[in-house]
Symmetry: C2
Subunit: 360 residues, 2 copies
Amino acid sequence: MGRRPSSRVTIVDVASAAGVSVSTVSRVIREHVDVRSVTRTKVQAAIETLRYRPSSIARALVSGETRLLALLVSDITNPFYPQLAKSIEQEAAKAGYTVVICNTGDRIAETQRHLTRLLGQGLDGVIHAAVGRDEACVLSILGDHRRVIFINRPPVDDSVSCVVSDNFGGAVDLTRHLLSRGHRRIGFIGGPSFARNATDRLRGFKQAMSEVTDAVPFMVTAEFSKNSGTRVLKKWLDDDCGLTAVIAINDQVALGAMEVLIRRNLRMPADVALAGFDGTAIAASPVMGLTSVDQHIDEIGRRAVLLLLKQLGSERFVATRQVLPTKLLLRHSTEGDGRPRTRPARAKTGGARATRDVEP
Amino acid sequence: MGRRPSSRVTIVDVASAAGVSVSTVSRVIREHVDVRSVTRTKVQAAIETLRYRPSSIARALVSGETRLLALLVSDITNPFYPQLAKSIEQEAAKAGYTVVICNTGDRIAETQRHLTRLLGQGLDGVIHAAVGRDEACVLSILGDHRRVIFINRPPVDDSVSCVVSDNFGGAVDLTRHLLSRGHRRIGFIGGPSFARNATDRLRGFKQAMSEVTDAVPFMVTAEFSKNSGTRVLKKWLDDDCGLTAVIAINDQVALGAMEVLIRRNLRMPADVALAGFDGTAIAASPVMGLTSVDQHIDEIGRRAVLLLLKQLGSERFVATRQVLPTKLLLRHSTEGDGRPRTRPARAKTGGARATRDVEP
DNA sequence: GTGAAAGCGCTAACAT
DNA sequence: ATGTTAGCGCTTTCAC
């Protein structure tokens, strides 16, 4: 079962076809210099005609290098991660590396399960985009700090490399923006305390709020899920706590919150302004039109791969900490001028064949 | 470089620690029955204390089985695929299989690159969720039809297994729904002709339209991207062709189309009704509120894995073709009663602290 | 510059 | 029921 056809073309076949030894073929494959160009050509011809493809398994067995990387995410259905995954996959492929994506669901057991299995498969390195309670576990399972990069969520342990955003600064910018628009009672739907990007954002929020005397912060700890956003916002609205603006810990949570606003016919930002974090594509769409703190997702992915490969290739290792600036992207959900700005409500000019709404 | 610490615990270490031979250890690992329970316990203890983890690389080299599957998608940032990937990953993990996700971008060269590389890595099987022009290429590279399952897009070659939706039926249902709501001039933003799910949906649309004498279909071929939706809808509106409803080939294309409607202050469905395909989470959200033809994404993923594993495990192989029914999910984008139904525009009752809009 | 041979860690006959 | 041994396809000394 599962055994592949014994017809596999091996290095021995190539060797005999080219009339040389296997070691010579091996040298040609790995582009060693100590091969006469005549010989090399001969071997390459044999490789070509036999359509020989070296087995990375056999190679891995002897060299210990698989060119297999893992990308750990908490939930691939959060659009933030696919965008990240794409850039990581692209950059890794350039260097001949394969990336496997694993969902941890922010559960230690899942991280453990994946890592143990992948280590058996000969994993070369790990990019963890959602470290949390599993931080120690990851490091102990891998044993070697050189083979891990944390991204998105900063690790506690600073003897590990990471590429993260300036979450604190981003939150400060965003909060100041809301304050400058006159909001004073602002809610912050936070993330779990084990996620340092979330705690950093919370700190930024608190900092900015403390700079304005009459600002009244509302804070709550929740999960990074759409449901979290829905649940928290419902509660706040039901409690009638007079919020005029809400910051969600990420765009996904903001989506959940926005659904509540829509269901209750509240307008953004006239009734409640809303903002998120991450700068995902859906937030950027006018369909959602969500103000968000952009994370330069592609850049983080690119850097993570380059850093990891560099670490895998060098003997001495010093942990690197890269912090990228964020960018505040203003959209309908906050940029209104006090009058309703949500799309159909502000319909005035109309397009082709439009029946027109007139505002009260 | 990359060489893992030579301190790896091997099967030999376990054997000597337990005072047995390597074959006995191997038997214990693979849960062979021919082992006395005393011996087994002894071995397991040794495995435990030494923290031994079998190398699947070595195992793969001899058995030809890597338990590595590839999932080919056209673009992981289309939310349809992460949902699919998640269910596939989960089902595969149950059987100890690892899934690597590859973006083909619907380009043959990319498929080729990934497959060649992965085959060297000892790929066991492939689930291709976006076959198109690369169909022949996939089959020839893999050589063995048993090791491929096509999902989502039906293959041309019916000697290969597939799990797909009833795209034709789904399109018929959807089109009839629009017709029943009085729409007659309906646009269909189609997909590329190499994607059979797209062509099947188009057939369904034509079929349903032909059943109504005064129905006027508009059709165009585009890509499976948000931009396609934007571009086509802009053109149609600019041409002022009097469309009252538009069907997009998938939810992602519908998103692009919806952006145009929003930007032009056209209401859904009062001015233009809009619908998509796939039944993604974002379409279901009231933020998008898109009528869509649900594909039972999880079920497709689950079945694909089970079918593939079954095929990998059996000697004789007969291609299976599974066609799942679709389900029409009605949402704001089409279910309106003629009056504006888009959220803020129909604000009448208001929620807590809401300033109210009154419709004209 | 090229070849011969010893493994990498495991499985699967074949012995016992 | 357990041990012995020959590879799986490749890399890598070490000779020549």
